[in-house]
Amino acid sequence: MPYHLFKCSESIPEREKHSVIKGPGEDITSALPLGYLNTIPGSLSERGCAYCGAKHVIGTPMKDVIHMSHGPIGCTYDTWQTKRYISDNDNFQLKYTFATDMKEQNIVFGAEKMLKKNILEAFKAFPTMKRMTIYQTCASALIGDDIGAIADEIMEEMPDVDIFVCNSPGFGGPSQSGGHHKINIAWMNQKVGTVEPEITSDYVINYVGEYNIQGDQEVMQDFFKRMGIQILSTFTGNGSYDDLRGMHRAQLNVLECARSAEYICNELRVRYGIPRLDIDGFGFEPLSSSLRKVAMFFGIEDRAEAIITEETARWKPELDWYKARLTHKKVCLWPGGSKLWHWANVLHEEMGIDIVSVYTKFGHQQDMEKGISRCEEGALAIDDPNELENMEAMETLEPDIILTGKRPGEVAKKVRVPYLNAHAYHNGPWKGYEGWVRFARDIYNGIYSPIHKLSLLDISKDEIPTDVGFETQRMLSDVNLSDEVKNSTILREYTGEYDCIKGLRDKIYPEYLTKKVSEAV
């Protein structure tokens, strides 16, 4: 597997060790991109900071909490419009952003008093909220404010509140990944074991590394509830602060995003003996096998099989409609850290898509090991890419679509390459059987939108054809399809609701008696 130096990065030769091309018959022992290292000066990275990783990615999806940043207001920039981790309490954590708004005078004279004032004000403004997380930023870390001491003072003065302090300033790691690590360990050390949860089922899990992007957690929760499994806590999407204090009582940690949350699973395994089961909620086959595994762990396989059969029968014909139209489309799979391996193989197998490149902004070498193993030969793998490298890759690989974040996505659009938001999604949820079809629909809509063809024409110099009428997606996507596929009575486009989450919130689930209760009856 040869390392690959982009032309545009010839002046930063250290970049060569950060990308490789998967050659025929080669494996991850012949070359592996470096990862989780400080960005090389001169490379225009797309990473976030360690505070962002701790707060915006992991802390803030907790729903019943005032999330306070102790720092300049600018640190909270990535909140309202970029994150889509919804919750079933009217999105409190999305609607309100709190920051102490540090200024120069605070840097000179200290900001602890101001922090205390802010905390009191916030609790007063939201009297039903009794939980708070506070995040250190570069500024408050540099001046050495003791956030923990202030939090202790408040908890003494207001015994009904509980506060978690996360000391993960922006400079506390090469990327957001440093912040993921810090908040995992801090939560483990400060909060796990401080609440004794109520156990209502014989089958109890923590669902870890799941952030409820556009409802992913609620989709998965639906499956678990249908099986009679109690989710003691979700770390952290749609998760509740106090539930997360009781993580130590689960029988199993079901881990979704290992990149951001394997640390807490590993610690729970070492300290409390709770095993860790890595699962995949994306794609029919990986999801089915994941549900089967969790069910098998508890000896309730029949409940999982019933769900798998029902959901597959309902949604597979719709997935296959899209597969017929997406086969051999070329995709650059450029997410943040874990979706390169969640999606690489299953996009290929279940939607027929060819992955021509994978990258990770903040992944570790472990993520590259997984991602490269799962993609086909010829794929270009890049660690911590810079903008120019992305442009060069798009020019050489000519992908039909890019799955990436907002910032690189907007750049791709400028060179007329469609993109889907891999972090916050377009029309999610994308987990679950229906979700996977919604993802296929988004990819289809992205690739075949007639606007991309039109946008390639430059009205200032190109001749605009006047003899062709408008084109629809179907006209573009079906042009090379056989009549058998085109006229199939089995395959069909997505037929679900615009909002597929709403119905889940009032759903009634079967009641399974616990062994203790059924023995007593």
């Binding site: 290992a258 003996g273 095993p275």
Partner: protein, 116 residues
């Protein structure tokens, strides 16, 4: 290893690398116990040997092993036509190869970090 065995080992390895996640835990000691336990149990299942998972940890290895064994039986029908002793030999080679790919030959510089 003869060519046929080599080819079969590669098929089984490819399936693990593309479909499973358990072989990629973050540290050497984790990977060692994952590979050892899951592949041992997979071999037992493929050879119809009884296994009783008692602890939560064993159960967790066991569910991954059951799924892998099912996948193997479905995809590689040649497994059904060979002797149990041969299955054991092939699975030992799979274990050696997987240990090489994920531990001894791995270029992952974080594998030997003493902390998580």
């Amino acid at each position: 290893m003869d060519d046929l065995t080599k080819d079969r080992v590669e098929q089984l390895i490819d399936c693990i690398m593309k479909k499973c996640l358990w072989q990629f835990h973050s540290r050497t000691w984790d990977r060692e116990r994952q590979n050892e336990n899951i592949l041992r149990m997979t071999t037992q299942i493929l050879c119809d040997e009884a296994f009783d998972a008692k602890t939560l940890e064993d159960k967790c290895y066991w569910v991954d092993a059951v799924c892998l064994a099912d996948d193997y039986k479905k995809k590689f029908t040649w497994l059904l036509g060979i002797e149990k002793s041969e299955i054991k030999l092939i699975m030992q080679e799979v274990k050696n190869r997987l240990d090489y790919l994920t531990i001894t030959g791995s270029l992952n510089e974080e594998l030997n970090d003493p902390l998580y």
